[in-house]
């Protein structure tokens, strides 16, 4: 087979990206589970495991740079490799956001806990699916899935607005203190950011297939 090594290295790159994707999906799900159940041990482990995501980002960056140096990729190969380099920045940020949720949960637990997680679990479920589909669309070069995933950002934004309204009502009724309400809102904001990062990934997947990024033909 011609360029066996090259194809093998590209395949390994995909495996690494799938692995990084699984790690961040688990981190988001775990962070919300920890929040719902007030599970402090889980919060600690999420924050520790974020290092694995950061390490994997470095491994993937190095592999991409060596693929460019050794193989002189062009056309779709070059787009795929540069897309990998771009999207792992968003993936790493998603990992950070999940760790941020865990950290906030720890802080909230010191003072108080919420009787009700509100719409956070539903919002998180959509965000996790978006991250999963964004990574899958890259690995499978699935433009339709990337575009469909981008559109789901509206669902997450709607949840964010809903949660915000609910918090305002709760606060007005004097049921929660201001400090708690702000932390709750921050968790929703991190989930909203996670969905934005998933959208960024999808935009790079579109580039990898079409050469266009946000409708501008760049390669």
């Amino acid at each position: 087979m011609v360029r066996k090594h090259y194809d093998q290295e590209l395949a390994e790159l995909h495996v690494d990206i799938i692995q990084m994707g699984s790690l961040i999906e688990k981190a988001i799900s775990d962070s919300v589970t920890a929040f719902e159940n007030n599970d402090l041990a889980l919060c600690e482990s999420i924050m520790l495991e974020d290092k694995a995501v950061n390490d994997l980002e470095k491994v993937i960056e190095s592999k991409c740079l060596w693929l460019i140096a050794r193989e002189q990729p062009v056309a779709s190969d070059l787009r795929k490799i540069t897309t990998a380099l771009k999207m792992i920045t968003d993936m790493e940020r998603i990992g950070d956001n999940a760790a941020d949720i865990a950290e906030l949960t720890l802080r909230i637990a010191e003072k108080n806990t919420f009787a009700d997680s509100g719409h956070i679990p539903q919002m998180a479920a959509v965000a996790v699916t978006m991250v999963h589909d964004a990574v899958a669309s890259y690995v499978n070069t699935d433009l339709a899935l990337a575009q469909k995933t981008e559109q789901r950002d509206d669902e997450v934004d709607d949840y964010f607005n809903l949660i915000k309204q609910e918090l305002v009502s709760v606060f007005r009724a004097g049921k929660e203190d201001m400090d708690n309400a702000v932390d709750f809102l921050l968790i929703a904001k991190y989930l909203e950011r996670i969905a934005d990062h998933a959208v960024n990934i999808c935009e790079w997947v579109e580039f990898s297939v079409t050469g266009k990024h946000n409708n501008a033909q760049i390669f």
């Binding site: 011609v2 360029r3 066996k4 090594h5 740079l65 140096a69 050794r70 193989e71 002189q72």
Partner: protein
């Protein structure tokens, strides 16, 4: 550290008055690929040829210093050059099959070294062609002229021919520069397979090729080795500005 198969110390070579190699010290590790890179005329091919005494036939050549293979100086008086070249085979830039059959090309070396038994020769021919990843393409036409093969096939045949004498070192002088990308890729895959059994020294003008296939890289300039390091280091963080300028295409 990988054991060194071959090394040179204070190697100088003159073509008449021209000082072509200037005090070259280079270690070539066992079962590794060492790439020699540098602009035309820098001495890399001359250096390669000193490794199996191909320069002996040039009257104006004078050599000083040491070239050591498995602990023995190959320029010592008692060295038999034919035996040396059996141990260190050479593959050239342009495929150069002999004008004879595919079979006879491969059997040529073993015959020179005294092998007459048909059954042994058959075995060597098949194994060498297999090792050079060309057996399946030629097994049904062994008696046909080697010159009827494509360029890429001819080059793999030449590699098979050099393997037939069971060498330990393979010296390759730009073995893919006359080949199309597909044939080049096949030869590169082959080199990667062969380094399990052989120590390989390759001259190449293709920077990506050096980065892809070699473990160590030596950068030659004006007859001197400017930099010699792991290929990873040379292509990511070269120590010498001249190396960086060369590998990034700024001169040469």
């Amino acid at each position: 550290m990988t054991p060194v198969k071959m090394h040179t110390r204070a190697l100088n070579l003159f073509y008449g008055e021209v000082h072509a190699l200037k005090g070259v010290d280079l270690d070539m590790p066992e079962q590794c690929v060492t790439a020699l890179i540098g602009p035309s005329g820098c001495g890399k091919s001359t250096f390669l040829k000193t490794l199996n005494r191909m320069n002996d036939t040039i009257a104006s050549v004078r050599i000083s210093g040491e070239v050591v293979l498995d602990g023995e100086d190959i320029y010592a008086k008692n060295v038999d050059v034919t035996t040396l070249r059996k141990k260190a085979g050479m593959v050239f830039q342009s495929p150069n099959p002999f004008p004879m059959s595919i079979y006879d090309n491969i059997a040529y070396g073993p015959r020179i070294h005294g092998e007459k038994k048909r059954i042994v020769l058959d075995e060597i021919v098949e194994q060498s062609l297999r090792d050079a990843a060309i057996w399946d393409e030629v097994k049904d036409r062994l008696k046909k002229p080697a010159l009827g093969l494509s360029g890429g096939q001819q080059q793999r045949l030449c590699i098979a021919r050099s393997l037939a004498t069971k060498p330990e070192v393979l010296l390759m002088d730009e073995p893919t520069s006359a080949l199309d990308p597909i044939s080049t890729s096949k030869i590169e895959e082959l080199i990667d397979e062969l380094k399990r059994d052989y120590s390989i020294v390759i001259v190449t003008h293709n920077m990506q090729q050096a980065a892809r296939i070699s473990d160590y890289t030596a950068f030659f300039l004006l007859g001197e080795v400017v930099e010699h390091n792991t290929t990873g280091d040379v292509f990511s963080n070269p120590k010498d500005r001249r190396t960086e300028d060369y590998i990034t295409g700024r001169f040469g």
